[in-house]
Homo-oligomer: 253 residues x 2
């Protein structure tokens, strides 16, 4: 008998009026989700909240306690609407301090860019007890406090921060996935999908319909932490689709 594997989970709080107003299309959810998969960590839940201390505190406190890791994006710049650090310090019940190494990083970064002003020094503020996350893209570092990872809102800066965290977080088995596609209405294969998932323990099957070139189709994603199990399930699904005369496209359509 094998031990049930431990599943490591993360949550994400996306902070920013610009997402909730529809001004900005969020890209951090998909980016962080994909990165976490490779680290063997599942993104379990996401909340998008306004630049509002109460909303940030509420979501941070519930999500950090019920997940192994909590990520946040947004609100760590130098302007008045950047309140993430203060809100997380309040959530943790700690002071906000100037991190000496963050100050040094910013001093160096702004040396040739007009100097470290008060506004820029705001980006060295961290909840007391925090470490920094390296930011190779711009001056201001990300922040790590316990199991909380405070990242930038700008996706390519967050990408750099994720890169510097790669391999440093304990996780479990990465979630593997394989996608196939078919020109078929998903309603025609609903039974096949349900039965195939049921008879392949440890696999989940997702069905994602689309409408293109005047025809309906669907992509099917099988997810499992075990490559062999995944392959067997994919083969069964392909066989089932073959039996009803459908051509299957590996990788999806």
């Amino acid at each position: 008998m094998t031990m049930p594997e431990r599943i490591w989970t993360a949550a994400l709080v996306v902070i920013g009026d610009e997402i909730l107003s529809g001004r900005t299309q969020d890209k951090n959810i998909a980016q962080i989700a994909s990165w976490l998969n490779v680290q063997g960590i599942r993104l379990k839940e996401v909340r998008v909240v306004a630049d509002d201390q109460g909303a940030i505190v509420e979501s941070v406190n519930i999500l950090r306690t019920r997940n192994d890791y909590l990520f946040t994006t947004g609100g760590i710049g130098p302007t008045h609407d950047d309140i993430t650090v203060d809100a997380i310090a309040a959530a943790l019940g700690v002071e906000v301090i100037i991190h000496p190494r963050a100050r040094a990083v910013l001093e160096k970064y702004y040396e040739s860019r007009g100097g470290l002003t008060d506004a820029r020094l705001r980006m060295a503020r961290v909840p007391d007890g925090a470490d920094l996350i390296e930011n190779r893209m711009s001056g201001a570092p990300g922040i790590k406090h316990g199991n909380i990872f405070i990242m930038a809102g700008v996706p390519h800066i967050t990408a750099g921060m994720l890169e510097s965290l790669t391999g440093t977080l304990e996780g479990g088995l990465p979630l593997l996935s394989k996608q196939i596609g078919c020109w078929v209405a998903e309603s025609e294969v609903a039974d096949l999908l349900r039965v195939t998932e049921k008879t392949h323990e440890g696999c989940q099957i997702g069905s994602y319909p689309f409408f293109r070139e005047g025809r309906v189709g669907a992509n099917f994603v099988v997810r499992s932490t075990n490559q062999a199990t995944l392959d067997v399930c994919i083969d069964a699904l392909k066989a089932g689709l073959g039996e009803i005369g459908r051509e299957v496209v590996d990788g999806g359509i």
Copy 2:
């Protein structure tokens, strides 16, 4: 003295493993947010949850009670991973029934498409007491139950459902916004932004930095429900940026 205006709020629950796994880039948050603005309703909070009944019930029950409206996207198709209707019925403590008009709509839609199978009939299931939301794009309708609006996951189908809801929801004053852009580091104008917001009641200013063509810049969005207030605030911000010798681009960069 004017009465403080009532602010109507909505929340959104995005349901789907495909968003949390990073497979699919969500587009419904931005789409629904923009649509709500026009209806005079603010999107206040969003949660992304897995295809998991417990997670859906938890988020639906808290968000529907503390907002005027609750929208959900995803999980209303014909396959085994489509559990939104069952989860919301459980959250409300009502039965799942076959809606007679939804059945009729599907019968008609599938008449020339192979007939209404059991799998397809699943898409006529609603929480008892629900009305339908018209879907001009494909067969299966959306669902309205009290202040809950259950929409499709596929963005263009959701777009059609939103269209058929346009003008039917009570809201307040629409949130207006105006954007200007400037080739300036936001840290250089942090004080200007803070003071300008503070001296223009009823306006929020958001600052959104970017890095392009080797230069840093920022777009600034002023939001208000009052056009005159908004214009005065934008003019003050432009004047402030002009004073430090910056050219302002209307509409943003």
